[in-house]
């Protein structure tokens, strides 16, 4: 029952088959000069970029991304506004949107999936939509050719991880620790354990995020994982006033650590 890989999965597999590690930075749509920051991240060596569509109640996110959400919403950003901007970009790498299920639900699942596809977005990540609830969305996403990335957490049994790996598209998003997004002083030991458990279960690219905040931490987790997702560290740079160049510089440091 192999599924033809979509553009996101193809890009990550290509990186892996070249012996490299994948780097997927995250930034919040609508925050600052985000479109230019996205282009800078791609130029600095990102294999794909994850773009957050702000939501009023982001329960999986820590203070940094909460603040980014609040600020973007206060500026009047809308989901369709973010997607339209994405449609006008040519970043040269696959794009994934990350948002909460109510945004897609309110949009209408089929319409949301087709708008993603029309705007050239390869994949979607919905962190409050676990496997058991994902059916209506994945049906719409599959029909539109949008890859649905599922999260896998340290609390899951191997049996559950196996089912998640079988249903995920693009990559499997290993949650590096028990907790919400944010930069920690050290990489949690659970991050490597998570990567190792997933690697033993699947051939799909295994990326770890949540609590991967420095180039050193990314390098550590990628001794086992196929790649890392880096969110709060990038967003923090933007919240502090860093422009596209600063984002590019940071992503470049992650890239070098993974080379």
């Amino acid at each position: 029952m192999s599924v033809e890989p979509g553009p996101l999965e193809a890009a990550l597999r290509a990186r892996r088959s070249q012996g490299g590690k994948a780097l997927v930075p995250y930034l919040t749509g609508g925050l600052g000069d985000w479109a230019a920051a996205l282009a800078a991240a791609a130029d600095a060596g990102a294999d794909a970029v994850e773009v957050g569509i702000p939501f009023s109640d982001p329960v999986m996110d820590g203070p940094v991304i909460q603040q980014a959400n609040d600020r973007a919403l206060a500026e009047g950003i809308t989901p369709l506004g973010v997607l339209d901007d994405l449609g006008r970009l040519d970043a040269g790498v696959p794009l994934a949107v990350m948002t909460y299920y109510n945004i897609a639900f309110r949009f209408g699942l089929e319409r949301f999936a087709s708008v993603l596809a029309e705007r050239g977005v390869a994949a979607a990540i919905l962190p409050d939509l676990p496997l058991e609830e994902a059916g209506p969305w994945t049906e719409a996403a599959d029909a539109a050719g949008v890859e649905t990335v599922l999260l896998a957490a340290p609390t899951a049994s191997d049996e559950r991880l196996g089912r998640i790996c079988a249903r995920t598209r693009g990559f499997v998003y290993g949650v590096g620790l028990l907790g919400v997004t944010g930069v920690r002083d050290e990489l949690a030991s659970s991050a490597v354990v998570m990567a190792d458990r997933l690697k033993q279960l699947t051939d799909v690219p295994v990326l770890v995020g949540v609590g991967v905040g420095t180039p050193e931490q990314a390098e550590q987790v990628c001794r086992v994982a196929d790649g890392a997702v880096v969110g709060s560290a990038v967003v923090c740079r933007i919240l502090e006033g860093g422009g596209p160049a600063a984002v590019g510089e940071l992503v470049g440091r992650f890239r070098r650590a993974l080379s």
Binding site: V59, M60, N102, E132, T155, A156
Partner: protein
Amino acid sequence: MVILAEPVGGRFGDFGGRFVPETLVPACEDLEAAFRSAWSDSDFRDELNRLLADYAGRPSPLTECRRLSEELGLRVLLKREDLNHTGSHKINNVLGQALLAVRMGKTRLVAETGAGQHGVATATAAALLGLECVVYMGEVDMARQSLNVFRMQLLGAEVRPAASGSRTLKDAINEAMRDWVATVESSHYCLGSVMGPHPYPWMVRELHRVIGAEAREQCRELLGRDPDVVAACVGGGSNAIGIFSGFADGEAALVGVEPAGGAAIGRGVPGVVHGSKSFLMQDEHGQVLEAESISAGLDYPGIGPEHSHLAAIGRARYESVADDEVVAAFELLSRTEGIIPALEPAHALAWVSRAREELAGQAVLVNLSGRGDKDVAQMMGRLSER
């Protein structure tokens, strides 16, 4: 039996479900299994019933309001949940969940609170059973319910401010869920209403079913039948589900009363937040709106999924009342019956008062879900402005 069954697959018709971060799915599954096992275990039920009687003071009385009835031209009965230990119906739920937490080997309770009643009840149960307790409360609510903040601290709980978003109940829930994501191995999330991911809407309803069961017996003794109308205020909707559960399979009309500024069914459309699908006040883009009400306990843009189901199938109706009507009802019950209600059940009384012509001559049971001590300072400020 629309309201009495265990929800199939965690769903009440089109509503409910388990929309949580993946990290929490196994915890919700464990909780569901543990509650199902405990609820069919007579030792667990006996222990809970003993605490409800000896510690919380159950059964709560049914009071017939003679002077208020005369003034309104109908027959008002109050289910006196205000007389429970800690001053509201919330204790029914937390004693059950705290016992369950101990049974599951958890050592820490996490809770959210709006008005502070659920937080106080959780802190109380934690003190009773020797559990660590952290309560999240919106900064706005901490200011308007400072007495309850102090009560929680006296009881040994740590109260943490929710400083994001609208800084009220919905944000306190976000913070409690984030805490639970990080502490799920040692902590039980003691959710305070019939909302959230499965099994909470079912479990919390079962734990409040005692309200309806007692009230039904008491009404039959007093009236020889069910009342014509059962009314209760609704934020998340736990006190309402509790009392409705005693009458849902009968003929009584069931009426949930929402604040006008937080009317999920009155002004909302289906959406998904805090773990379940239900009616939700949100904008055209799916951003959750901030509720605005005089009562911190009802300041919530959503509603428990079973209420959405009851509305969809027409078994219950949902009305909304404005703050001024609530204040008038608060004063009316105080003056006519010597009972100062919490602002939350004053919503139900406000609807009864407004609908008195429609209700003329009928027996109307109102769930007096909490007492007004916590609201006296706020009301003193508001009424002295007149």
